[in-house]
């Protein structure tokens, strides 16, 4: 009898494990993501995809599309911008500079560095030019040098705006320029002391009078003290002429990419939500950014889901918090957002947005590491995200690349993807167009 019981246990144990591994897949994309119970484990679930070279391999794109690298050897490319003459600008930088306050900061910094390229940020904007329109960008040259971790880029009315990690800069741009000297004019300083989430995303309003800058939080969930979170986890609206700003939206943890929805002219953001509440919390999202709205961070997420790690808690803030429009999945690390205009690629890819997902660290099964397509109808998301560029994780489980900024070039009908692991800019075009 005892022997039998042991045999049953021996059989049951692996079954129990399998059952655990195959927890029902949650639906964590779209307007109403499933949000499981919070799970704070002694150590957070972690998996870092170690870097490996492409070695001739390429990312995969859907049938009917072609992908080519148009620039390599960059120094941590982040965001891209297409100029009126077709030149492509690439911001290159690696910022940050929050002091290490506790043993965890030292250890976590090391662990996350295992998934990065180790390249020093270029602190510059590189220009790529395709002189003859054959899709090969023969010229790769530094347009602006000596920047401080540039990220967001925008061109308005002949002025080039660059969002450094500590200031929004303006440079006079002449059509066809391949070099801009000088340090630029400071439109406004940006919160940067310290800079935990340092990336300053940038876009201009449809009429060009306002600039929007996304300013990430200084911590995961306020654990550096809320004094450091003044003017953090916000989107600033900046008057382009005067440089005066107001807080456009708040509680928006890390708005890493901003874009104007061409159908509604509304501001949209890709936002990274908090970590260490479990494998399936909290889904990153994209959302239209409503003026004056509070998106919950750090007190709550997706409306009134209270985060117990914030103390003292603020029920009055939780009541104010609104849920974002569209979840992208937990820990995917959305860093790029671009809308299609002018009919896009046609067919299944006429109206919608692309999102670049840098990839996870805070879960056992990797998430992200791809570019997804989200169909829109009448300016609203109208379907589930679909993989568009994949293959960034090789069959050996190592990362070949990590997507950051995505930009649609409506004139040449191409999608640009900055990859800050292989230091490449990829370009995806419909095959027939070549």
């Amino acid at each position: 009898m005892i022997v039998l019981r042991h045999a049953v246990l021996a059989l049951a144990a692996p079954l129990a494990l399998t059952a655990c591994d195959k927890a029902p897949e949650l639906d964590q994309t779209g307007a109403r993501p499933q949000l499981p119970a919070q799970k704070e484990t002694l150590l957070p679930p972690m998996k870092i995809a170690r870097p490996a070279g492409w070695n001739g391999a390429m990312p995969s794109v859907p049938q009917g599309f072609t992908i080519t690298p148009i620039a390599t050897g960059l120094k941590v490319p982040r965001q891209t911008l297409v100029l009126p003459n077709g030149d492509v600008l690439v911001s290159e930088g690696l910022g940050g500079g929050a002091p290490k306050l506790r043993p965890k900061d030292v250890i976590a910094g090391y662990i996350k560095s295992l998934g990065k390229s180790g390249t020093k940020g270029g602190n510059r904007v590189t220009l790529l030019r395709d002189r003859d329109g054959d899709g090969r960008y023969e010229l790769q040259t530094v347009l602006i040098d000596d920047l401080n971790a540039p990220y967001g880029l925008a061109l308005v009315d002949g002025d080039l705006y660059v969002a450094d990690q500590d200031a929004l800069l303006r440079f006079r741009y002449r059509d066809g320029a391949t070099r801009i000297d000088g340090t630029g004019e400071v439109v406004t300083k940006l919160p940067a002391n310290p800079n935990h989430h340092w990336t300053k995303s940038l876009t201009a309003s449809a009429d060009g009078t306002r600039l929007y800058v996304g300013i990430g939080s200084n911590s995961n969930v306020g654990e550096r003290g809320m004094a450091l979170e003044e003017e953090r986890a916000v989107v600033w609206e900046i008057d382009r002429e005067s440089g005066a700003h107001r807080t456009y939206a708040s509680g928006i943890r890390n708005p890493t990419a901003l874009a104007i929805n061409p159908a509604t002219q509304a501001l949209w953001a890709a936002v990274n939500e908090r970590d260490e509440l479990g494998t399936d919390l909290v889904p990153d999202y994209m959302t239209s950014v409503k003026p004056g709205a509070f998106y919950g961070w750090p007190y709550s997420y997706y409306g009134n889901h209270v985060d117990p790690r914030v103390h003292p808690q603020k029920p009055e803030m939780v009541r104010k918090a609104i849920a974002p429009d569209y979840a992208l999945g937990s820990h995917v690390a959305a860093l790029g957002l671009t809308f299609l205009t002018g009919g896009g690629f046609g067919g299944n890819y006429a109206d919608g947005a692309f999102v670049g997902e840098h990839g996870s660290w805070n879960r056992r099964q990797l998430a992200g590491y791809k570019v997804v397509w989200i169909p829109f109808t009448n300016g609203r998301p109208s379907g589930k995200p679909r993989d568009f560029v994949t293959g960034f994780i090789g069959p050996d489980g190592k990362a070949r690349g990590r997507p950051v900024g995505v930009t649609y070039d409506p004139v040449r009908r191409a999608l640009l993807v900055a990859d800050d692991l292989s230091n490449t800019v990829w370009r995806i075009t419909p095959s027939a167009a070549r």
Partner: protein
């Protein structure tokens, strides 16, 4: 045989640092001021390093069959485990860095650290005589 003076110094750290960590924890729970939890995290990490060194030395004494070392090794091993779990607990963000678990582990660590000190610093009777 009494502890080597250097071993005694190593053992002094957990005896001093774990109570400091508890004091920092209590202050954090009373103030919600994160820096106190950061202090606790460093104190626990420091205490853990010296607990480990002291444990290694004690295990060497056990291997050399030095009298009175086995209990010290057992208590230090238990202290190391409690301290390690507590270090991970304190790596959580915000309020979760302490909580009931962290506070309980800090108290358990003090009890074990004092026990280790008591055993380690007790001069064996045959030496005293």
């Amino acid at each position: 045989m009494p502890l080597h003076p250097l071993h005694g110094i190593l053992l002094a750290f957990p005896v001093a640092l774990f109570p400091c960590a508890l004091a920092a924890d209590v202050t954090y729970l009373n103030s919600s001021e994160m820096q106190w939890s950061n202090f606790a995290a460093w104190l626990i990490a420091g205490a853990l390093v010296f607990t480990g060194l002291s444990l290694a030395w004690t295990l060497a004494r056990v291997a050399m069959r030095r009298a009175g070392s086995r209990w010290l090794a057992i208590v230090l091993a238990a202290l190391f485990v409690a301290g390690l779990v507590n270090a991970f607990q304190h790596s959580h963000d915000g309020w979760s860095s302490v909580g009931t678990t962290g506070l309980a582990l800090s108290v358990i660590s003090i009890v074990l650290a004092l026990a280790a000190g008591w055993i380690g610093y007790t001069v064996p009777r045959e030496v005293r005589a």
